[in-house]
Subunit: 592 residues, 2 copies
């Protein structure tokens, strides 16, 4: 029907006769002439109807916002005073000759340009209107470009797009599964996959060598701001490659993606061990756009009497660390109180601080409630280590190592945000050498990644010292967000059994849950490993979206519902009977 997209017109089209299809973004009369802003997914163009075209002018006069039109007209340059520099097509306009109303429109439930005032629920209820906004159109168009660029890269590199089942068995990611009752196997349920982990490993056992899938995954968890019940993963697995090669390929993929889609050069990604990331940033996904770091001062604090610092400094499981905020001396007492509350969320029992007012004046030039507990010598050594400058503030954490890392790590992000200390741009890195296990608090171990991650030691060494063992896992982090994570997997049955044993998964449970994997491992499984990227989060970062819901066409609300279609919905008794289930509460209503 159309010859051009509205937004694609420019001075190159002047004097051409074009046919456009789109929506009326705005309509106004001015000096006996009708101006229509016509909108399609590529942009907006101004169409002018004057009374010469009698019949069509009359139609244009009837037109309202969001009517769907087909317009034919001639492109012409705008007069000098009327060029609109805020509009991509602002140098031209279309002199309308013919107008066909393809569909009329009732008054929209909200004005598209006033969406922020109406609240997200109204927008989600009328999502088909909300998605008309150029901002949403651009985000989803960019998402399509990102997915396409990723696929093209992986196709080129010999990865095979292979689909794995959605109706499957409970997978071991540990979150709650969505279940699907089986009609043909009464009392039995499918689970929707939390990831295609086991299937992609089996595809490696099958010899497909390089696999990928843009895969829907499901978790029935209480939703936080950036979670959705269903989300999309770029899921990758390869055989016969070590962690360096896998990181190499996927880093190249992300680099090319940023080049192609955003015209951004990310450069080579630094590698950082988990231990270093925790030590310097208190986080395994450090935001390297922020220059501040946690600095250990345990050795210094072992010399002071101040018990609050001395205790953790002496404790092998404790830590005393300082976080210097450049120019932070101007932070008010009120703000410091707020930060103290903030770190308490992470278990910190206080937030000591020193303001550096005038270093030249020695101790007198410092301002702090804790100075009196420390010898001047220690304070001076500390100032030197921290390279403190006039105008800085230094915050302190002293507690169990985990508490210090978490609270100062979080404080670092918050202060940087508040004080404008987050640099522009992109800061990617790899975090490597994760521990295999975490203490589960009950004398057992839980996997830091998942139970199929290979350790970087032998089964015997692993069993001898599980707390010290490192895994062959790696996370890609960008601007403080985990973009993706993966590992080299266990490919030998004895190692897999050793890990299950350490995790307290007995032989029977292992057979029952993962028997098919254990079997597969003994029939010639190749060394293999892979990675999964969170596509929604990647798109969110690349589009600068505030919420994951902005980059998903039809997202769910925080209670896992779709207000547009009213899903989930009620279901008839007959349907439930076929599935061999009944509702708990409604038992009596069903007459039984």
């Amino acid at each position: 029907m159309r010859s051009h997209y509205c937004g694609a017109l420019g001075t190159g089209n002047i004097d051409e006769t074009v046919t456009l299809c789109g929506w009326v973004d705005r309509r106004r009369d001015h000096g006996g002439v009708i101006f229509l802003d016509l909108r399609d997914r590529e942009g907006i163009v101004q169409v002018v109807f004057d009374p010469d075209t009698e019949e069509h002018f009359q139609r244009a006069d009837r037109v309202r916002s969001e009517y769907v039109l087909k317009v034919t007209g001639r492109v012409r340059a705008r007069g000098e005073g009327t060029v609109n520099p805020n509009m991509a097509t602002g140098e031209i306009e279309v002199l309308g000759k013919e107008l066909e109303i393809l569909n009329s429109a009732a008054t929209p439930p909200f004005q598209l340009d006033e969406h922020t005032a109406v609240g997200e629920d109204v927008r989600l209820k009328h999502r088909y209107m909300d998605l008309r906004r150029p901002e949403m159109q651009n985000k989803l168009m960019l998402r399509a470009r990102i997915t396409s660029a990723v696929r093209q890269f992986l196709d080129r590199e010999g990865f095979l797009d292979i689909e794995t089942p959605i109706l499957t068995r409970a997978t071991p990611e540990g979150a709650r599964d969505y279940l699907v009752p089986s009609r043909t196997h009464p009392g039995h349920f499918f689970a929707l996959p939390q990831s295609p982990q086991l299937f992609k490993q089996l595809l490696m056992v099958s010899g497909f060598d390089r696999y990928y899938q843009v895969a829907k995954c499901f978790r029935d968890e209480d939703l936080r701001a950036d979670r959705q019940p269903e989300f999309t993963q770029i899921d990758i697995e390869t055989s016969f490659l070590g962690e360096e090669e896998i990181m190499g390929i996927t880093e190249r993929m992300i680099r090319e993606l940023f080049q192609n889609v955003l015209d951004v050069e990310l450069g080579e990604f630094p590698h950082m061990t988990y231990a270093e990331a925790m030590e310097r940033f208190g986080s395994d996904k450090p935001d390297l756009r922020i220059a501040m770091e946690l600095v250990s001062i345990d050795d210094l604090m072992q010399q002071v009497d101040f018990k609050v610092f001395r205790g953790p400094a002496d404790d092998p499981n404790g830590r005393v660390a300082a976080l210097k905020v450049p120019g932070g001396a101007s932070i008010s007492r009120k703000e410091i109180d707020d930060y103290t509350k903030y770190v308490s969320i992470f278990g910190a029992r206080g937030l000591a601080w020193i303001k550096v007012n005038d270093l030249a004046a020695g101790i007198e030039g410092l301002q702090s409630p804790i100075l009196k507990f420390m010898p001047d010598e220690v304070v001076n050594q500390m100032m030197e280590r921290l390279e403190a400058k006039d105008g800085d503030i230094i915050f302190f954490g002293a507690d169990k190592t985990g508490v210090v890392n978490e609270s100062l790590g979080a404080l670092r992000l918050k202060v940087a945000e508040d004080q404008g200390l987050v640099a522009e741009g992109w800061a990617p890195l790899w975090v490597v050498d994760f521990p295999m296990f975490e203490d589960d608090g009950n004398g057992g171990w839980t996997p830091l990644h998942h139970p199929f991650t290979a350790p970087s030691c032998s089964p015997e060494e692993l069993q001898a010292n599980p707390g010290e063992a490192l895994s062959r896992a790696y996370d890609m982090v960008l601007n403080g967000t985990e973009l993706g994570g993966g590992s080299v997997r266990i490919h030998q049955r004895d190692m897999q059994e050793a890990v299950f044993t350490l995790l307290g998964i007995g032989q029977e449970e292992a057979e029952e849950k993962f028997g098919f994997l254990l079997n597969a491992l003994q029939y010639g499984a190749p060394p293999h490993g892979g990675l999964a990227f969170g596509l929604d989060r990647l798109v969110m970062l690349m589009t600068g979206a505030a919420s994951i819901r902005e980059v998903i066409a039809f997202p769910k609300t925080q209670t896992a519902a779709c207000v547009m279609t009213d899903a989930p919905g009620e279901v008839g008794a007959q349907q439930l009977r076929e599935l061999n289930i009944r509702l708990r509460q409604k038992q009596q209503e069903q007459g039984e």
Copy 2:
């Protein structure tokens, strides 16, 4: 780890030192030398170890079938007598220098080259082994290429890949839904989509203009040979295009796909009306590789007394048709009896026939139990119309039109298959001008496609004569298989309501089920339409697979189960309690 894929080696690599990774396909000793056939996804190559490489020779000696190896060696030409023309790499071999055993393998549950003897259940249970067979590898690799080629085409044409929800509301395709109990909304259920139909229409209302998705769809139906509970659709929708343009783009997509992937030129697809397809082939998905056609002889049979033919010939809802099988006079009485049984499946109460032995001999040259009921004149006219030749057989159907079309249409396929009358090659076509509705047998109407299909007439004409109305639907048919189908959709609320009314969907039910669509239609819905291809079926045709299960990595069995992972599985009482459901049978066991 590797420098080359095994199957990628050729005479161009002679004298190169290569490193290969793969599985031992076969191992044999011969003249003090060990021959290993090493296999990866790209093919098989022969590796030779001689006793010179002592340590590695000893390892090679320990190797068994399906061991995973890394081999380094030098490529050399095979001696003249030892070239293997049946092997893609048969002109060369690799003289092994180093061998590393990456993993051992227990004796496989079945020999990969003897899979046919073991039955599909064993193969599905050990699917990771079954998928190692080159045949299966090739099918899934071709599937990946097909998907990739389709995506590239659609990306190039400006279609946006947009994901629609899997956890959604019951959709109106009419098959049984898979349900997912909601934990956060007790007593409510999500449905898995039977297609993204409504979402893609809403994306058009949103102005995305061109959408596609390779989408998982779900139907909880009793499975026939070529059905799966989850299947994959290439789902397409566009705005501002009519049926000719939509057919044009998608035909070009399939044509380019066949060019690129199979090097086959399909040429332009003929268009055939539904009425013509039923008349000539008794089917709305005619296999045009078969030259035989159904020929109407109602007018002739109105002249005979033979009640079996005369009745349907006089009945406006009846039909008498003939199917001439060239060279079919050699079909035996036994075979004719079998065909008679076969057509009875479709409701035919018999199968009359005439063998044409010697046309020159007149009526005497024909052989048939029904000749005696017909005047010679009529028989001669019939022979002329059918262009009968010596050696042909002619079968007859006389009944309600539907029964004749279905039974002779099916017979046409079966006889062609049995008698070798299916031509080689590819025969695509479009079937168009479908009726809007079918009589549902209870005085009501059911849609031939779905309730969102636009009629090619006005709402008033539709209501006046629903049985005569044609729709703007189109099916793409290839070799007798429906590859895809679609339509121009209804984009105006009054038309949509008129169709709902005709289908017996009251205003309340329409609001309840499709309220969001009806709403969307009144806020400026563009004219739009689309199409969905069954990807599994397309791949099945293109790979020549016998079953849909051969082109799906992890398919379900006929009872909708996965014998490998043992899905569906049992679920704990706690999990059910969280979902507010209980089992029907097991109520007491759960202690309530």
